[in-house]
Amino acid sequence: MTVAIQGGRERARAVALVRRVNFAVVVFLALYVAVGLLQPNYLEPAGAMNFLRRAAPLAILASGQLFVLISGGFDLSVGSLVTLTVIGGSMLTANDPSKTWSTIAALYAIGLFVGLINGAVVAYLKTPSIIATLGTLLSVNGAAMMWSGGSPRGYLPDNFRMFGRFVFHDVPVIGIFPLAVAVLVAVCALAQWGLHGTVFGRRVLAVGDNPRAAELAGVRVEFVRLGVFVISALSAVTAGVMLGGFGGVSVDVGRGLELQAIAACVVGGVQLLGGRGTVVGAVAGALTLTALFALLTLLGLPQPLKDTAQGFILIAAVAIGAWRRRRAV
């Protein structure tokens, strides 16, 4: 009996590992090698660091979205919250570098507020999250437009843009190390701890698996729902601050990012409708998508064709995920 349990345990662990992680990681590595063959500097440390920097906002969004997805919901409002963050950053700082830190604090407060609204509507008004956050998406986008007067221009102050742009030079072994990658690593570690290293993470999984059973076992399901939407919103502000450093201020910085973040999670084996998912998977999914975009760009595909290809690949990822799960039975 003991032997059987031991053997079974190792086997189950191996199976779980293969099932959860390998797929997205393997696909990512394959894509990255393909990208590297077309453009060899991707294979150098500096190229790889630059790639990670570009992938960071999406990976951060995906690690936040992950919590909502696992709890059995969707957060469609993150893209518009990224836009609001960038526009809000530009309005609040008004080109004055001394206001950067207070502005960032204010932006996180706005994110907290949006997250609480999302969570409260879903938890207490019992609105399906896909509808609730679709509403927030429209409202937040509208708020961003109104705030900026419709045609924002220019750039954020340099010390604000640092999070997206600053790079440590002359780092041993890897050469350069972008600050964005440091933020990415910190966010991933935080998400990893939050989901897999705390009781809260297990509650999120429980609520996503069977909210009724969780409630009857004493889990405060409403608090869990509030929590996941706040986490997602805060991750969106973080991604927004970073994206503000990448380029200029515009009304469509965040457009479509919510779907990309959900897609990244799905590619990483996170189960839509809840109960299953890992941070490693979500981040690997985000890296996979970023590598895919890079590949499509290197292949010289025009934007519409890239969008189409992206759509097909998403569907394929979901289908493969479903097939693997079916086969596992």
Partner: protein, 505 residues
């Protein structure tokens, strides 16, 4: 019996899942018009065999023959077209569709390519009358009682001219009267030449309805025999490999302690004037027909659908749980009668399931494996309850019903509430696990816990309870001592007078 005469023959069916040999060369045959019972503990391979027959699983080896012709089902639809109809324990009717639409789902009669509603309704009515039922074909399936939904499922099978009808624990959710009617129906349908594979844990039913019985154990056929040669004792021995003389654990010889739970004048939409107490060390059974309020009582006690009370005390302290979390804090634990919907996290591990309550109450940022949620403490409880799993990291969905039930019990043992409410504790659980669960309840009582057992299974109520409360029409209709006869309990449960029975002492 000649080969050609067999309506269904499954030969040397083998099916392996990762780490488990679910079926090991199982053979099984039924003659036309036979009622063939299939028994075995949970995990013996019954469901797997049925899923192979229904085209849900493809066997790794073996042959299936229908009327002597070899068949292979690549999909449930193929099996259905071949005349195999399976009525699962969880009924599969579409609640928002009419009875007629459900009966002809997928085989709708058409006229010039257009749905022929009139024919459908008439035919549905004819099928239902043939089953001796007066259900209106136009009524919504969701509005029917479970018993009537069963009848519609059978009509659905007849509508496709099923030659083999598999019924998986059809009486599990029925009370005694409806179960009896269903058995009559089984006999009637088999007399029309339909072969029936009847899966049940209830020996009485098998004795009453089956011609032959096949017993599975650990994925193998243990025996196939006619019922005449198989008294219940022999069947049980074949299933569990031992006698179950001490099926119900002995009652405690100690007098019960002080009242742990005291409820006075409780009422809500489904209950009125409910007053009772449960003492420490006592198992109190609550019996009653469906709709008598016994399930509403459990939901009210745990604050799921709270009631208004004149007084409610737990261990002498006033308590009035307004929601499930408050009930747990007040010291009440409840094992739900619907472990799939209200109990298990199907995709989480056995360990995660067994620690759910502790994790609901621990500080949010604590490590999920801090005491008392550590694998060591959790495993100790799981092993103590003899939970069988390939690994405690295995997902709960892959466990058998009895083991799933034990995992939920483990979850409550970690919390160790003063009052345990067991709702239908052995529904869909095999004989051996049943005995184990009764023993767990008795052990809890011996440790001074108060136990309220709400059950539709009369032998269980009578065999396990120290006292029996009988509910009728939303209130307590009477009380009997443990060991009362089924007739005595039923007499109170079905009495028509509105006067409450005198409480026996």
């Amino acid at each position: 019996m000649e080969q050609a005469a067999l309506a269904l023959e499954m030969l040397d069916i083998t099916k392996t899942f990762p780490g488990v040999q679910a079926l090991d060369a199982v053979s099984f045959g039924c003659a036309r018009g036979e009622v063939h019972a299939l028994c075995g503990e949970n995990g013996a391979g019954k469901s797997t065999l049925i899923k192979v027959l229904g085209g849900v699983y493809r066997p790794d080896g073996g042959t299936i023959r229908l009327d002597g012709r070899e068949v292979a089902f690549s999909h449930p639809i193929v099996a259905r077209r071949a005349g195999i109809s399976i009525i699962h324990q969880e009924l599969s009717l579409l609640p928002q569709r009419s009875v007629a639409e459900n009966i002809f789902l997928g085989v709708e009669p058409t006229r010039f390519g257009i749905l022929d509603r009139r024919t459908m309704r008439d035919e549905a009515g004819r099928l239902l009358r043939r089953l001796g039922s007066s259900i209106a074909p136009a009524s919504l399936a969701g509005d029917l009682s479970i018993a009537h939904q069963q009848i519609v499922e059978i009509a659905k099978a007849l509508a496709i001219d099923a030659r083999i009808l598999v019924m998986d624990e059809p009486t599990a959710a029925l009370d005694r009267v409806d179960a009896g009617r269903l058995l009559d129906l089984v006999r009637k349908v088999s007399a029309e030449g339909v072969t029936i594979v009847y899966i049940s844990h209830r020996m009485v039913e098998i004795q009453a309805v089956a011609d032959r019985v096949t017993v599975l154990k650990d994925g193998r056929t243990v025996m196939t025999t006619t019922l005449a040669e198989a008294p219940t004792g022999r069947l049980v021995r074949a299933m569990v490999g031992r006698d179950l003389a001490d099926f119900y654990p002995p009652r405690s010889s100690l007098p019960p302690g002080p009242p742990t739970l005291n409820v006075r004048g409780a009422a809500n939409g489904q209950l009125h004037d409910v007053s009772f107490e449960v003492r420490a060390g006592e198992i109190v059974g609550v019996a009653g027909l469906e709709g008598s309020g016994k399930d509403a009582l459990a939901r009210a006690l745990i604050g799921d659908e709270p009631f208004e009370v004149e007084a409610m005390e737990i261990c002498g302290r006033a308590a009035k749980p307004g929601h499930p979390r408050a009930a747990i804090q007040a010291g009440i634990g409840r094992l739900s009668d619907d472990r799939k919907r209200e109990g298990l996290l199907m995709q989480q591990s056995v360990r995660d399931n067994a620690t759910l309550i502790e994790r609901a109450f621990a500080p949010a940022l604590r490590s999920p494996t801090a005491e008392p949620m550590s694998p060591q403490s959790t495993d100790k409880r799981l092993i103590q309850l003899d939970v069988r799993a390939a690994s405690f990291e295995q997902e709960a969905q892959f466990l058998s019903g009895g083991n799933q039930q034990k995992v939920i019990i483990a979850r409550w043992l970690a919390r160790d509430p003063e009052i345990f409410i067991f709702c239908e504790p052995t529904r869909g659980v095999d004989v051996a696990a049943k005995a184990a669960i009764y023993q767990i309840m008795r052990d809890l009582a011996r440790r001074g816990r108060a136990i309220l057992m709400i059950s539709s299974d009369l032998p269980e109520i009578i065999g396990v309870s120290d006292r029996i409360l009988i509910m009728r029409e939303g209130t307590l209709a009477g009380e009997l001592p443990g060991g009362a006869t089924e007739e005595e309990v039923m007499a109170i449960a079905v009495a028509h007078d509105r006067e409450p029975h005198a409480m026996a002492s």
